[in-house]
């Protein structure tokens, strides 16, 4: 990979250095305690897969990391910025500094329908990061080319298939050059025959050394790309470890039941 490759992950930090450390993360919606003290860490170049039944809180973890939800407690520490302790209310500046470390790929893509594919991708780099437009366009074109959408750059999102839209969603996140990519069930809204294309792109990114956290129901995929699998249920981490261990030989009963149910749906 050349140094100017837009797909190159940001930073030259040695592998295995933690990009993110989360401790004691708590979040409630009203009386419903969704996260009860979650600890996580993701190292440079690693892929963390969060799995678990719906309502287990895994999506809320991602949303807290990106500032889409504000945690009620806990410490979120990204490498290179001051850790944010949610024991006291965080300032807007702190929240923005956290948010800028990561970029979210949404289950329902959430592309901007009134902007072309290219405009969707360069919106963040140009409008927010104030990078030169020509440079942003060049990088965006190259990223789109990498995910096989070079010929779609001037089309509008509604003219694309779900799989193509999600690949644009991934490129939009990549263009921000975040230290951590967040994927919230990126293939759950797709027709089955389109899932493969999107997973293929994510797998390539993992192989190129992007650091990411991924919420998914695709266990086979998690086993293939993840460095660590975290199984959550009821707002707590029940079991974590190497994918082969958690997915093939889970120690906890709840993990065993969940994995069994997903692998044998009938």
């Amino acid at each position: 990979m050349s140094p100017t490759d837009p797909l190159a992950p940001r930073g030259t930090v040695p592998a295995h250095e933690p990009v993110l450390t989360v401790s004691g993360l708590r979040k409630s919606f009203g009386a419903n305690q969704v996260l009860k003290s979650i600890d996580l860490s993701v190292r440079q170049g690693e892929v963390l897969a969060l799995i678990g039944p719906s309502g287990s809180g895994k999506t809320t973890v991602l949303r807290c990391l990106n500032g889409l939800e504000t945690p009620d407690g806990g410490v979120v520490a990204f490498r290179g910025i001051r850790p944010v302790d949610f024991a006291s209310p965080a300032s807007k500046k702190q929240l923005a500094s956290l948010r800028d470390q990561s970029a979210m790929v949404f289950q329902h893509y959430n592309l901007f329908p009134h902007k072309t594919v290219l405009e969707n991708v360069i919106e963040g780099p140009v409008q927010v990061q104030k990078r030169p437009k020509a440079e942003a366009v060049r990088e965006a074109s190259s990223l789109l080319d990498r995910v096989g959408l070079a010929d779609k750059r001037d089309q509008y999102p509604h003219e694309l298939s779900g799989g193509q839209q999600q690949r644009v969603g991934i490129v939009r996140a990549l263009a921000l050059k975040p230290s951590l990519l967040l994927f919230d069930e990126p293939t759950s809204a797709l027709d089955p025959e389109l899932v493969g294309d999107v997973l293929h792109v994510i797998k390539e990114l993992a192989e190129e050394g992007w650091t990411m956290a991924l919420v998914t129901h695709e266990l086979a995929f998690a086993r293939e790309v993840a460095s660590e699998v975290v199984f959550m249920d009821g707002g707590v981490v029940v079991e974590r470890g190497h994918p082969d261990q958690v997915l093939r030989d889970p120690q906890e009963e709840r993990t065993q039941q969940f994995v069994h149910r997903l692998l044998n749906p009938f």
Binding site: F112, G124, P157
Partner: protein
């Protein structure tokens, strides 16, 4: 009844001029100012601040709950008794702008709320502030949704400007009244005025469909 076609012909141009010099500029100015006001009121309504939101709700309630003619008379005939004298034209523009502001605020508020929450979240994740997200992501999508109801507001406004004739603004309907009073041909003049209003509104309606078609490219189907 015999129709005096000479009168129809000779009064046609003065009526159209009343439209061009009175009705149309009055409508355009009031609609533009009203929309600016409506956007502010809509955002106040959506604000988390209860006091600001209550002020906006009160404003909308008063405007929608009182007749436009009464609002017009309060400004032109009422205010002078507390020492505020405003000329006919500015009075009319103030009254119509306030009125449009009240009705369009609800349209704009609903249009903003109709944009899916995911669009706000996508703006957030690429690093945009809420204000930038509103301006670049939410409002362009809300604009498309609000074209049909705002067009209705505008067409209503064009017809309502005839009320300005009652505070001495020379517009289309006042021209008709003056010529009718002079010629005593009330039926001819008022029907002629009605036809001209109708043609204005037909043109506006076709403009609305053009605009909808153009903006359609930008929304998901």
């Amino acid at each position: 009844m015999d129709i005096d076609w000479d009168l129809v012909a000779s009064s046609f141009w003065p009526l159209v001029q009343g439209g061009i010099r009175g009705t149309i500029p009055l409508s355009l100015a009031s609609f533009f100012l009203g929309l600016v006001l409506a956007l502010i009121v809509a955002l106040m309504r959506l604000s988390g601040n209860k006091v600001i939101s209550a002020i906006a709700r009160g404003y909308v309630s008063v405007i929608r709950g009182t007749p436009l003619l009464v609002q017009l008379f309060v400004i032109f005939y009422g205010l002078p008794s507390i020492g505020v004298v405003i000329d006919p034209w500015p009075s009319a523009i103030i009254a119509f702008s306030l009125n449009v502001g009240g009705y369009a605020a609800e349209v704009i508020r609903a249009a903003i709320l109709s944009v899916p929450k995911g669009q706000w979240e996508a703006g957030h994740t690429i690093g945009m502030s809420p204000v930038t997200t509103l301006r670049r992501i939410i409002l362009p999508q809300a604009a498309r949704v609000s074209v049909p109801p705002l067009s209705n507001t505008f067409i209503s406004l064009v017809k309502d400007t005839s009320l300005a004739s009652l505070i001495l603004v020379t517009e289309l309907f006042r021209q008709a009244q003056e010529i009718a009073a002079f010629s005593q041909e009330f039926m001819v003049l008022y029907v002629e005025a009605a036809v001209i209003y109708w043609v204005f509104c037909l043109i506006l309606s076709s403009g609305q469909s053009q605009l909808e078609k153009r903006l359609d490219r930008y929304v998901a189907h």
